[in-house]
């Protein structure tokens, strides 16, 4: 079993042995690739919203009723809700006539029009949502329905990609979603909602 491993490591060592000098790890600042136009001290939710719209994301904020009414306007009547969010959102969703389940039944994948889960964080610079196994109650519920709503708090927003990388959570599955799922494979024409959500909502709960 170990032989291929040993061979590859030996070949690697032999390949590099003749080098008189190895390229050094360059000295650089973590924020080297942060866009200079970013106002890191500004209102991060406002920056996030602006950037999210550029990638066709949907930023919303307010009380649970705001989200429930928005879903209703989109004719979304059935969906999934993270059980941990149900105490806050359950009443408003019911009032708006949205039925929710708190377990995602993969056998009925086509029945869910939306999924509401919690985001781990967000990145203002790029309008990105951060999902993890720890925060997102079901990977499939955040992916398979046409509309995904990630619920977010103001203090969870990172200014930029560099900060988000420096603060990667200790979670085996950290997912950055920047706008909806998209493709341009057919003649370079942009189509949204390929395998994942066609509508990606970032909901700031206030």
């Amino acid at each position: 079993m170990g032989t291929s491993r040993e061979t590859i490591l030996k070949r690697t060592a032999d390949a590099l042995a003749p080098l008189k000098e190895r390229a050094a790890y360059p000295d650089f600042n973590d924020s080297v690739a942060v866009m200079p136009a970013l106002d890191r001290a500004g209102d991060l939710w406002a920056i996030f919203s602006e950037r999210a719209k550029l990638v066709h994301g949907t930023p919303l904020s307010g009380s649970p009723a705001v989200l429930a009414n928005w879903l209703r306007e989109k004719n979304h009547a059935r969906g999934y809700c993270d059980p941990a969010l149900l105490p806050q959102f359950g009443e408003a969703l019911a009032a708006a006539g949205c039925e929710v389940e708190t377990a995602f039944d993969r056998a009925r994948v086509d029945d869910y029009q939306f999924g509401i889960t919690r985001a781990e964080a967000a990145i203002a610079e790029t309008g990105t949502l951060v999902l993890t196994d720890g925060s997102t109650s079901s990977r499939l519920a955040a992916l398979a329905p046409w509309t995904h709503v990630a619920v977010l708090k103001r203090e969870q927003i990172f200014a930029d990609v560099a900060t988000a990388v420096a603060s990667l959570p200790a979670d085996p599955n950290v997912i950055w979603c920047t706008g909806p799922s998209r493709t341009a494979d057919v003649e370079g024409i942009l189509i949204e909602g390929v395998h994942g959500p066609g509508v990606q909502v970032a909901f700031l709960l206030e």
Binding site: T12, R22, I189
Partner: protein, 469 residues
């Protein structure tokens, strides 16, 4: 005159295919330029920095490989090593057999193309389904990808609609929106029915053992959400030293590949799902693949191992734009392929030795490369090597230089020929070969001016007085 294979391929390319390839590459090029220049004041500095990080990484793989392996094992990942394609396919097959798995969904990975994984598994009665829309279309058409990021850049919507109709995915409809919606509906049930999700890796952090995957469609996310086993095929050159390097590299990759600030889905995967998570793999396997890479590492062309597969060099290349990716006869097309394919070919180098000649050496590939690979220099080195190994493929379309070589190597002979060359004006035209006759029918032979340079040089020396003190 003999033509190179790539010329012949380009000459036979139907005009609509050429138009598709040209349009697709041009838009990719424009998007990249716009994205980099609107985001950054000096994007070139970032490219050079990223190049230095990757060069450091590959020159220290002997340190980083054992380090990343140890991290992965600590993260609960099973690590395998494969010397070549057969061994890598064998690992995948064995992992599937041990789980009693029959069905695999596959997110785009160039390594799996390199090792012909789908073919290997299908021969052994297993299903291996591509999930990236473009790759899915390639699979149902039994075609090959012709671009690293846009695999079906050579196809138009009418061909795709016809393929969908043939495969029973609805009546003919060439609206891209409808095509995509049908693929969505068909593939989501395939994900949910599959046992294994296969991915590649864009980057692997030696520091944390995280593998980084980027997709726009979210297909790798779905593969790793719906299945019970995740297998990642990783070329050993994908390693970066630290997590912090990823900020820079992801920013450059998305902008260089598609002109986005970030790709829609960027995933950092370091192990199987957590206990409280209902969806996703119970086990994760990483297969480190050599398949010729250590040979490239030992070569002075090793900077090509920095490549992050963004396709910017394909999009900008005047040769790729006219010939399409299939002309390169290998998994990796374009300028990067012209360097990498002959090197990965090993003993079969002579068969690929013409590829480095399929370049104008204009340098555009180097200028757009997010990791600043000196592609033109590497192409020149490989051209030279093609001659050294006496490859016929590398010599095609080069005029014979034997007689000139003999002359140029002997100063005395050179002098004689330069002095007496004027006699060539007496050469009777009716004795000329056909091509020469055609030439002189409408033009006269130029007046012989041989030997003038030597005379001028001698004269100049005589006239130049030494400087007075």
């Amino acid at each position: 005159m003999k033509h190179q294979q790539i010329d012949q391929y380009a000459a036979s390319l139907p005009p609509d295919k050429r138009a598709s390839v040209y349009g697709g590459t041009k838009s990719g090029y424009d998007a990249r330029l716009r994205a980099l220049n609107t985001s950054y004041t000096a994007p070139d500095n970032l490219r050079r920095l990223a190049g230095r990080i990757k060069q450091h990484a590959i020159e220290n793989l002997d340190t980083y490989l054992p380090q990343v392996e140890a991290r992965m094992l600590a993260n609960g990942v099973k690590v395998h090593w494969a010397l070549d394609g057969d061994e890598a396919c064998g690992h995948v097959h064995r992992i599937m057999e041990e789980r009693g798995a029959k069905k695999m969904v596959k997110a785009k990975t160039m390594v799996s193309e390199e090792i012909h994984l789908a073919n290997y598994l299908e021969k052994r009665g297993m299903e291996c389904l591509e999930t990236d829309l473009g790759e899915f279309i390639i699979q149902i058409d039994h075609d090959h990808p012709s671009h690293i990021v846009k695999p079906i850049i050579h196809k138009n919507r009418r061909e795709i609609a016809a393929s969908f109709e043939r495969e029973g995915l609805g009546a003919y409809n060439d609206d891209p929106e409808v095509i995509t919606a049908r693929a969505r509906q068909f593939l989501r049930h395939k994900y949910l029915a599959a046992d294994v999700g296969l991915s590649g890796a864009n980057f692997v952090s030696a520091e944390s053992g995280r593998i980084v995957l980027v997709t726009n469609e979210g297909n790798s996310r779905f593969s790793i959400a719906a299945t019970k086993v995740h297998i990642a095929l990783v070329g050993i050159e994908k390693i970066v030293p630290r997590d912090r390097d990823l900020g820079l590299l992801l920013n450059l990759l998305a902008r260089s590949a598609t002109g986005q600030q970030l790709t829609s889905y960027t995933e950092f995967i370091s192990g199987p799902r957590t206990a409280n998570q209902p969806d996703g793999p119970e086990e994760m396997h990483v297969i480190f693949v050599d398949n010729g890479r250590t040979r490239v590492l030992a070569d002075d062309c090793r900077p090509i191992l920095r490549c992050i597969r963004c396709s910017a060099c394909l999009n900008v290349c005047p040769v790729y734009r006219q010939t399409s990716g299939h002309a390169y006869r290998a998994v990796y097309p374009g300028p990067v392929g012209a360097v990498l394919s002959p090197l990965l070919a090993g003993d079969k180098f002579p068969e690929m030795a013409d590829l480095p000649k399929a370049s104008t050496l204009c340098g555009a590939c180097n200028e757009v490369c997010p990791v600043d690979i000196p592609i033109p220099d590497l192409l020149l080195r490989l051209r030279d090597r093609g001659k050294q190994v006496g490859s016929k493929a590398a010599a095609a379309a080069t005029p014979p230089m034997g007689a000139f070589g003999t002359l140029a190597a002997s100063p005395a002979l050179w002098k004689v020929v330069m002095k007496t060359g004027g006699l060539s004006a007496l050469y009777p035209t009716f004795l000329m070969p056909a091509a020469g006759k055609t030439w002189v029918r409408t033009r006269g032979m130029p007046k012989w001016r041989g030997g003038k340079f030597r005379a001028w040089m001698k004269d100049r020396r005589a006239k130049t007085k030494p400087l007075e003190k």
